[in-house]
């Protein structure tokens, strides 16, 4: 397992050409749904193919692909590095932790990397809930909330009964 450098948001990215890549990706998977996946009984009929939140990072374009049969993080690496072969894995470090990505390749959209979030997709009631989850995953991955500080002082009995433990960061009441 090779460990790639940490992945951060790339605010200076100006590669406009690739911003259309995810549109081609979505179009390709709509085609796959209509053709190869037509008879597979693992599709959630409430869902459609949709890309969510694609953005430029230091490693490439990162976003989520929702389909009726899976939801994956998708990374389209940019730069001169050789793409991962089909099925090869790499660990990529994000602000929230290191995730394993697997190489994929398609004759239409080229090589990219996937990290499975959900599959199959029967637990999603509709497209909106899947989209909510996709956005939340990206947010939690790239902009994680800091861990809540552990209370250093013990909450005394009086404070506990007054609900002092509910007031984050506040002094214990009743002292």
């Amino acid at each position: 397992m090779s460990v790639a450098a940490g992945v951060d948001m790339d605010v200076n990215a100006t590669d406009v050409a690739d911003t259309r890549w995810e549109e081609r990706l979505a179009e390709r998977f709509r085609q796959i749904q209509d053709e190869r996946m037509r008879d597979v009984p693992l599709l959630n009929p409430a869902l459609n193919v949709e890309t969510v939140g694609f953005t430029d990072t230091t490693a490439g374009r990162l976003g989520v692909l929702i389909t009726p049969w899976f939801m994956n993080l998708i990374l389209k690496p940019q730069g001169d590095a050789d793409p991962l072969g089909m099925g090869e894995t790499v660990t990529r470090a994000f602000a929230a932790g290191a995730l394993p990505f697997t190489g994929s390749d398609d004759e239409t959209v080229g090589s990219f990397e996937i990290c499975s979030l959900f599959s199959p997709m029967f637990d999603f009631e509709d497209q909106a809930s899947a989209r909510d989850m996709a956005s939340s995953v990206l947010q939690a991955l790239l902009h994680p909330e800091p861990e809540k500080p552990v209370l250093e002082r013990e909450v005394d009995r009086r404070a506990f009964l007054r609900g002092g433990f509910l007031r984050e960061g506040s002094e214990s009441a009743g002292r």
Partner: protein, 364 residues
């Protein structure tokens, strides 16, 4: 003078260098860093050895066969030096009444402190007459040893779920351990057999840290059973792309396409096969060209043929998905719950909280 694990290992001829290497490897397989490897080393050097008693009920001994072939030879040497001194009727030197006496001695001398590892399960029909090791029903022996144990490890699918002997119509009333022993913590390590590195990892964690690993809702160690085969399968890109093997040995099979249509149970099976793999990380069933049969899932013998295509994902244990509650709630409650569930998803996928990920996956 109480003997530590380390002293036992040294007495068994294991060098300090090998001992430290073992600690590092075990820490890695548990998803821990180098600092925690030293914690394991320190614990084994200073803590009194905890006896492990390994009982066999209705089973085929494949768990033992897997265990003694742990990927790194050190693992089995180290672990065997801990357990063989006490009781395992397959690999210990003692036999007959002398062997059975060990159980009584351990129960008396280490009451409340030893670990009871159980391979297989007790048949309860006809007063347990269908499994009589050492001249008494296994269920009686299990209850006797469980009463003095600190914790119980259910090795394999037999002890964890019942497995083939509990398949319908289950004539001997073979019953998983946790349904017989209800007053002790039971750690399920399912699989038929479990992966050797998973077994050594679990047992080392317990004896080194003197606590149980974090378990999921079904009682399985999260560090090895929180991920589905399907999520980490190297053939997953083919599933996503709708590229399936349609018949054995067809052109698609030779290209290493997804085995879902050949009955692969990877989408509903929680195990570490696609990450830790087997035989020193060489391969696993899907890499060898055969679908996963879901051997670590509850009741896998009664779920139809190994070659039946999964059509209803709920039929095969998807309810065990730790994220299900969060996802179902996300559909109802909305973004706030989705945000919470998203953090859980990232934790589950993070490589630092699960078994190791292999360096490279070659197509079969």
């Amino acid at each position: 003078m109480k003997e530590t694990f380390y002293e036992v290992m040294r007495r068994q001829g294991i060098t300090r260098r090998s001992f430290l290497k073992y600690c590092s490897l075990t820490a890695a397989s548990l998803g821990m860093g180098p600092g925690q490897a030293m914690q394991i080393a320190q614990a084994l050097e200073t803590k009194e050895r905890v006896p492990v008693i390994w009982l066999h009920g209705l089973e085929c001994t494949c768990c033992t066969e897997s265990f003694i072939r742990a990927g790194h030879p050190l693992a089995k040497d180290v672990i065997l030096s801990m357990i063989s001194l006490d009781y395992d009727d397959t690999i210990m030197a003692a036999a007959g009444h002398q062997a059975e006496e060990i159980l009584k001695e351990t129960r008396e001398k280490y009451d409340g402190r030893y670990i009871l590892a159980v391979e297989g399960n007790p048949p309860l029909a006809d007063d347990g007459v269908y499994c009589i090791p050492g001249g008494e029903p296994f269920v009686d022996k299990l209850k006797y040893m469980a009463a003095g144990a600190k914790a119980i490890i259910s090795w394999g699918s037999c002890a964890s779920w019942g497995c083939v002997q509990a398949a319908k119509p289950n004539p001997t009333q073979a019953t998983p351990v946790h349904k017989v022993i209800r007053d002790k913590p039971v750690i399920k390590v399912p699989g038929c057999p479990p992966i050797a590195e998973v077994m050594t990892g679990v047992i080392t964690y317990i004896v080194a840290f003197d606590r149980l690993p974090e378990l999921d809702r079904q009682g399985r160690p999260k560090m090895f059973y929180s991920q589905r085969i399907h999520d980490k399968c190297y053939r997953r890109p083919h599933f996503d792309a709708g590229q399936f093997v349609e018949q054995w040995d067809d052109e698609n099979a030779r290209k290493g396409y997804c085995l879902y249509k050949m009955g692969c149970k990877g989408p509903t099976t929680y195990n570490a096969c696609s990450t830790v793999r087997w035989n020193e990380g060489v391969s696993f069933p899907i890499q060898s060209g055969h679908g996963c049969i879901g051997c670590s899932e509850d009741g896998f013998w009664d779920k139809g043929s190994f070659y039946d295509r999964l059509t209803n994902i709920q039929q095969f244990g998807a309810e065990s998905n730790a994220d299900k509650v969060g996802m179902a709630a996300a559909g109802v409650v909305g973004t706030a719950i989705a945000a919470h569930a998203a953090v859980s998803v990232i934790k589950r996928l993070s490589t630092t909280s699960s078994g190791s990920v292999p360096e490279k996956s070659d197509q079969a």
